[in-house]
């Protein structure tokens, strides 16, 4: 390993310190953006979309985040953002963090130098195993490049956000989850490419890094969204209603459906039975679970639609139309989950609902141990 590889890319931490952190829910480093967001490029800062500009962190909230971070095991915090060093209470914040034994500093030039890689060095950016970012508006992001909000510090504890995040879980399990050439690269043991670059170019935070020098000859092997669902969901045509998975976010996904002639739910007038909306919702969540499973297994994961409630149908869909389905894993318990879903035609909401699903996870069951396996009416 070259000298520049001894540190994790874009981080003050040596590689060895976090090489074996695995799926731990601990956190070892944190970046808190206290100034206005800026765009210096990867590893140092980020653009915060206007849609996130709702409520800036207060001084009390910043101190609370430091406290929560300390309780999670954070050893170092970097404060970033435009004019972070001119933030009115920056000295108090630094003093407070240091009083808790946390190594606190403001993003400075030294930090930029650490990110300066030689051309063919592995990126060594495994920062998701031990760090994350809190934006000045309270959103927790995996890193500056992977700008998917994992949760909001205004409403959730940092520990809950980190523990519940499927994206962080996937990134911590990168050896089983990264797809394409990065997975079989000779540096795969110590590098998984830049996840920010992978996400920005392909829409997939688990894709191989398309801008890595080593992947120059393998670009055709790098998958990008929207992705067809062959091998991702178990349903085959004609029962497969969902065509592609288009967008990924924390515990949620967006998929597309083209309603074709001869589709099982279409009648002779070309209108679609309302039950098709349920199937679209179920297949979309299967697409999200299957997508997360791509690097792990060759077969689509097993899953079942168990029921639905709060289903509201606003309008019918017709053959020839293209619909979007958005699904969000609202809650899960063991292998059971509640998913909220919306089916749209352009901006028009056609249907909304909640579906209950079962799909195999690694989680331990709880209360359900004592209950009978079938429904109350054994239906």
């Amino acid at each position: 390993m070259s000298e520049s590889c001894s540190r994790i890319f874009g981080s003050l931490f040596p590689y060895d310190k976090f090489a074996d952190q695995g799926r731990s829910n601990s956190l070892y480093a944190l970046e808190i953006c206290i100034g206005d967001p800026v765009d210096f490029g990867f590893s140092t800062a980020f653009i915060n979309p206007d849609s996130l500009r709702d409520k800036k962190l207060s001084y009390e909230e910043i101190c609370d985040i430091i406290n929560q971070a300390k309780n999670l095991g954070v050893q170092a915090i970097v404060f970033s953002g435009r004019d972070a060093k001119y933030y009115p209470q920056i000295e108090d914040i630094l003093f407070f963090a240091k009083s808790l034994g946390v190594d606190a500093s403001i993003l400075n030039e030294e930090y930029f130098c650490i990110a300066d890689l030689k051309k063919n060095d592995p990126a060594l950016c495994i920062r998701h195993r031990f760090s994350c970012i809190v934006t000045s508006y309270g959103y927790v992001l995996p890193c500056p490049g992977l700008r998917i909000p994992l949760g909001s510090i205004h409403y959730q504890k940092l520990s809950d956000i980190i523990r519940d995040s499927e994206i962080l879980c996937d990134l911590k399990e990168y050896k089983n989850k990264i797809k394409g050439p990065c997975r079989i690269c000779e540096n795969a043991e110590i590098c998984y490419g830049c996840r920010g670059r992978a996400y920005c170019v392909t829409g997939d935070y688990l894709a191989s890094d398309p801008l890595c020098e080593r992947n120059k000859k393998h670009k055709s092997d790098i998958m990008a969204l929207p992705l067809p669902l062959d091998g991702i969901i178990p349903q085959m045509p004609p029962m497969r209603l969902v065509d592609t998975i288009d967008k990924l976010a924390e515990r949620s996904a967006g998929c597309s459906v083209s309603i074709k002639e001869g589709m099982p739910f279409a009648d002779e007038n070309g209108s679609i039975d309302n039950v098709a909306y349920l199937e679209m919702m179920a297949q979309s969540i299967a697409a999200l679970n299957g997508f997360r499973n791509i690097g792990k297994s060759d077969t689509a994961p097993e899953g079942y639609l168990l029921g639905a409630k709060k289903l509201i149908i606003n309008s019918e869909a017709m053959v020839g139309e293209r619909l979007s389905v958005f699904v969000f894993k609202y809650a899960s318990y063991g292998d059971f989950g509640i998913v909220k879903a919306i089916v749209k035609r352009n901006n028009e909401v056609l249907a909304t609902g909640e579906i209950k699903i079962w799909h195999k996870t690694d989680q331990e069951p709880g209360i359900g141990d004592q209950g009978p396996l079938k429904g109350k009416n054994n239906d």
């Binding site: 609370d64 406290n67 929560q68 300390k70 309780n71 808790l100 809950d160 523990r163 168990l306 029921g307 609202y330 809650a331 899960s332 318990y333 063991g334 059971f336 989950g337 509640i338 209950k356 989680q363 331990e364 069951p365 709880g366 209360i367 359900g368 141990d369 004592q370 209950g371 009978p372 396996l373 079938k374 429904g375 109350k376």
Partner: protein
């Protein structure tokens, strides 16, 4: 939140989410055998309790011992107390 509040709110969850009559909601009632819940209802129960009490219920080992309505009251009470102590500890630091 008092113990009585916890009992009332838990009972509301059973009435609202599972349409179980108020008269049946006694601490000794087994949630599966007496109240008729099954394993598919558990995720709904967990979600409803989380929403009602504003708490996070995870795959806690204690959940495996829950059988009666009284067990749920005690579990929620314990979670609430743990959250209070945790918040107090954070404030002290």
């Amino acid at each position: 939140m008092t113990e009585q509040d916890i009992i009332e709110l838990t009972n509301q969850v059973f009435e609202e989410s599972f349409e179980i009559e108020k008269e049946l909601l006694k601490p000794e009632m087994n949630i599966f055998q007496d109240l008729g819940l099954d394993s598919l209802d558990v995720v709904d129960l967990v979600v409803a309790l989380q929403e009602k009490f504003g708490i996070k219920i995870r795959n806690d080992e204690r959940l495996k011992t829950i059988r009666s309505l009284g067990d749920i009251y005690n579990f929620i009470l314990a979670l609430k107390e743990e959250n209070l102590s945790l918040n107090a500890l954070h404030k002290q630091e």
